[in-house]
């Protein structure tokens, strides 16, 4: 029986095809011809498939990398995603969880910046991540934090900023830099942004006094500079561009160019110290993020108030929700009695940029009067993670009290003027 990777000869009426068998489908057999091209042959046309030789094993000779004494040590924790994946020709899929040696083979520049060790903590695409995974990741960070100078977390970009927010809340104190890195172009392609993102994160770890959680991604479509972003005020704002991550209602922490030159934009970032790591790993799973929209069904409010311990509303404009006209009066009543019984309702804005307000319009006052908590300029996703984390570690009344307080930099007090609010003018 021929298996993917074997050298085969397929006989058909259209002639014979010789090459390496690729993973197929029900209808077709795929063969990689000696020219390098793959061709699909209708399975029904194949009269015989002869194995000429068993599969060539992938080159597994990986050079052992010697540790250099003068370099800092960095632990790379994998969670899955495209950042450290390559095409597996046997399955056609992507594989992750590389050894340090393999990782260095992919990103050879890294060995000049740091001594690397790696661990696969998770192996899932980021859209499937659960709160339990945050805890696994936090435990791995705690484990490595005592024995390395910094940690890089390879993460899928889709929910990377949720994870960064979770880690930022969980670690009340951490004395090394923990940088989340993603990739918008898969590592198998020559144009991948992964190498520059990983190397910039490593350079930042190696040569700054920053301690805490941050994100490192391209600052523009160019391969010349990465930005170090806040874990709580950053959002993926584009489905596919390299510079998808943007600081929202904030500036990046620093910029790192491809030669390793660093520019700190923030001056008040957390620095390395000798304090002990404090990890608060609790999470309440019954929290939801609810986006309001026109013609919203009352059933949704009804369901959420019955099902969850906290509801983060991604309202319109300054924080509005459909609770005012007679048709929507039931929504209002549902929220009112929910909060009365101890439920938490947080209000954020789907505008993404800007700050919500509890009293500009009478409709906003109606929400704040019944106890909805207006979350200032906090991102809806950050508020969602924060509510779940607060309820996992504090009593509900305490959690409610902390929701609109600035614990880790998730809220800024001053909204600074920028000519173009979408692009903060941190670029020189």
């Amino acid at each position: 029986m021929a298996e993917p990777g074997d050298r085969v000869k397929a006989m058909t009426n259209d002639g014979s095809f010789e090459g390496i068998l690729m993973p197929g489908s029900n209808n077709s057999v795929f063969i990689k011809l000696d020219s390098g091209y793959n061709i699909g042959i209708d399975s029904k046309k194949i009269s015989s498939l002869k194995v000429l030789g068993r599969g060539m094993k992938k080159k597994d000779e990986v050079k052992q990398v010697k540790k250099k004494n003068n370099l800092p040590s960095i632990a790379i924790l994998h969670t899955g995603g495209t950042i450290a994946s390559k095409v597996d020709y046997r399955t056609g899929g992507v594989s992750a969880g590389y050894s340090a040696e393999e990782f260095l083979e992919m990103f050879p520049g890294l060995s000049e910046i740091a001594n690397i060790e790696t661990k696969a903590v998770l192996n899932i695409m980021s859209e499937d991540i659960c709160f339990a995974d945050y805890v696994k990741l936090a435990n791995a960070i705690e484990e490595f934090s005592g024995k390395c100078d910094g940690i890089i977390i390879g993460h899928g970009t889709d929910t990377l900023s949720y994870t960064s927010a979770a880690l930022a809340f969980m670690f009340e104190k951490i004395n090394i830099p923990v940088i989340l890195v993603g990739s918008q172009r898969s590592s198998d392609r020559g144009s991948s942004d992964s190498a520059m993102n990983v190397q910039s994160a490593a350079r930042f770890i190696a040569s700054s006094d920053f301690a805490g959680i941050a994100i490192c991604m391209h600052s523009s479509s160019n391969d010349d500079q990465c930005a170090i972003f806040s874990p709580l005020k950053t959002r993926k704002m584009h489905t596919s561009r390299r510079d998808a991550f943007k600081a929202i209602n904030d500036t990046p922490i620093a910029l790192v160019d491809s030669f390793g030159k660093m520019d700190f934009i923030k001056k008040d970032y957390s620095r390395k110290s000798n304090e002990k790591t404090i990890l608060k790993p609790g999470f309440e799973k019954d929290v939801c993020l609810l986006k309001t929209h026109p013609n919203m069904s009352q059933d949704i409010f009804d369901f959420c108030t019955k099902r969850y311990k906290a509801i983060v509303i991604e309202g319109t404009g300054l924080g509005h929700a459909p609770v005012n006209i007679s048709n929507n009066q039931k929504n209002y009543e549902a929220l009112k009695s929910y909060i009365k019984k101890g439920g938490i309702v947080a209000v954020t804005s789907q505008c993404i940029y800007g700050r919500v307000h509890p009293s500009v319009y009478s409709n906003l006052r109606r929400l704040s009067e019944i106890g909805c908590i207006f979350c200032e300029d906090m991102l809806p996703e950050t508020a969602f993670i924060k509510a779940a984390w607060l309820l996992g570690n504090y009593k509900p009344a305490e959690a409610a009290g902390l929701l609109a307080a600035n614990l880790r930099g998730e809220i800024t007090e001053r909204s600074l003027y920028e000519k173009d609010f979408l692009e903060y003018s941190y670029k020189n």
């Binding site: 002639g15 091209y37 198998d188 144009s191 160019n222």
Partner: protein
């Protein structure tokens, strides 16, 4: 040169750009004249292909450690060319054209088409690879020296255009990147440079017969794979002009004969028809599957939708049967005007086909002679004039002037109406009476002068002969 003795082995690879949108996005390639409105800086890295081996030619480029600047214009590029958005659906038009050409070249079509990523890190593709798929195989081309096998036909993306190059940086324009390109390869059975030229011309003619190929400088390129006994294969890239093919191949054969330490590699054609080293020969390790799309199954129904066009050579032959000269017939066939002219030959059946064609080919001269704007001398204007001649209302000799008048909008049939036979006879009679004893030619001159050419010369001659004969 004795090519048999030299062990001359040669194959062709023809790259032809196709009409329509780009292969994997909805940009329409413009004229490329618009100035770029953005540029990005990128780096490329070699990565292991699906066999886990870094391709040698890819590594060669990585070792250069260069960066690339891409100039883009929103007229003809989008995020796809900038490698900032996944590919859109394959252009069905381009696929259909590739299938048409494959069938015209007697190929078998692949049951299922798999787009591959061919690692290219000289920067000419922002992604670091060129998307390419094997569409058809095992065809042939009829030539005067026998059948030439066409082992493969591929459909691929055109590369970006190099603007400038320095040691550490190459500048590219993205307008061209992603234009559909059909690649036709022959086997190495071409017998000598003349045969190479003939085969290239014939394939070019077949491509143009589809009416779906881009025209103009750089839209078709020929690469030649060449070896002689005792020397490894060399690929020569970038023949733009078939006229240079014979000369360049001869110079290359001389170069190989003089070469001491041969190694297989890729060369490019220089303006003086010599060639120079470009890069090592790429291997199969640089190909892996394009994972951003599904494979494409070519069903019988899809193939039955493909309508094969008649070849330009067949169309030209058809025109020649009407008495149209070879070069003119060829020109009209290439322009796709053959069917139109055949219909005119039927419509104006009393006129000679060559007379009809001549009228269309004389537009420039008519415009000049009768100072009528060229763009107003339309097919409709010419047809109107031809109809008048065909119906006997206009003398052939006056047709061009009439065309100009029609074009200018001041045509009056009265100006051209022929003198009646009686009028003509009495006029000739009086001329002969006035000036007796002149020669035939002299009388004809006087007659034509009197009627300003508005008489049928043949008829006038008949009358004259009767009167003086």
């Amino acid at each position: 040169m004795d090519y048999i003795k030299l062990g001359f082995k040669c194959g062709l690879e023809i790259h032809q750009q196709l009409e329509g949108r780009k292969l994997f996005c909805h940009c329409i390639p413009g004229a490329g004249k618009k100035e770029p409105d953005a540029e990005v800086v990128r780096k490329l890295r070699a990565s292991a292909g699906e066999m886990g081996i870094i391709d040698i030619s890819a590594k060669h480029e990585m070792e250069k450690g260069r960066h690339f600047i891409y100039e883009s214009s929103s007229e003809s590029t989008c995020l796809v060319e900038l490698d900032e958005e996944p590919i859109h659906q394959l252009s069905q038009e381009a696929l259909d054209t590739a299938l048409t050409v494959s069938l015209l070249l007697n190929c078998t079509i692949a049951d299922e088409i798999v787009f591959m990523r061919k690692t290219v890190i000289d920067g000419s593709n922002t992604s670091g690879f060129q998307r390419t798929a094997l569409i058809a195989y095992n065809g042939f081309l009829e030539t005067s020296r026998g059948k030439v096998i066409i082992p493969t036909i591929c459909l691929e993306e055109e590369a970006a255009q190099k603007v400038e190059e320095s040691n550490d940086c190459v500048r590219y324009r993205l307008d061209r990147l992603g234009i559909p390109l059909i690649e036709i390869a022959t086997d190495a059975s071409l017998k000598d440079p003349e045969h190479v030229k003939e085969s290239a011309e014939k394939i070019g003619m077949i491509l143009r017969s589809t009416g779906k190929v881009r025209r103009g400088i750089g839209t078709i390129r020929q690469d030649v794979n060449l070896s002689i006994k005792g020397h490894p294969r060399v690929e020569i890239k970038g023949f733009q002009d078939l006229r240079s093919i014979i000369k360049t191949i001869n110079i290359e054969v001389q170069r190989q004969l003089a070469e001491k330490k041969p190694e297989s590699h890729v060369r490019k054609v220089n303006p003086d028809f010599t060639t120079s080293y470009l890069r090592p020969m790429p291997g199969p390790a640089r190909m892996y599957v394009e994972t951003d799309m599904r494979t494409i199954r070519i069903s019988k129904e899809a193939l039955s939708r493909i309508k094969l066009p008649s070849l330009i050579s067949e169309k030209a032959n058809n025109l020649e049967k009407f008495g149209i000269g070879g070069p003119v017939a060829d020109k009209l066939a290439r322009e796709g005007k053959d069917a139109y002219f055949v219909s005119l030959f039927g419509k104006f059946s009393s006129l000679k086909p060559s007379f009809i064609v001549e009228a269309f080919l004389s537009v420039k001269a008519i415009s000049k002679d009768f100072s009528a704007p060229e763009q107003k001398l339309t097919d409709q204007v010419i047809e109107k004039a031809l109809a008048l001649v065909d119906e006997g209302k206009l003398q052939k000799g006056n047709m061009y002037e009439a065309m100009a008048d029609i074009a200018k909008g001041k045509f009056e049939i009265g100006k051209y109406s022929s003198a009646s036979e009686n009028e003509l006879e009495s006029a000739i009679e009086s001329i002969v009476k006035e000036k007796p004893g002149l020669k035939e030619g002299a009388y004809m001159g006087l007659i034509m002068g009197k009627f300003h050419g508005k008489v049928d010369g043949k008829k006038a001659m008949q009358i004259l002969k009767r009167l003086i004969g």
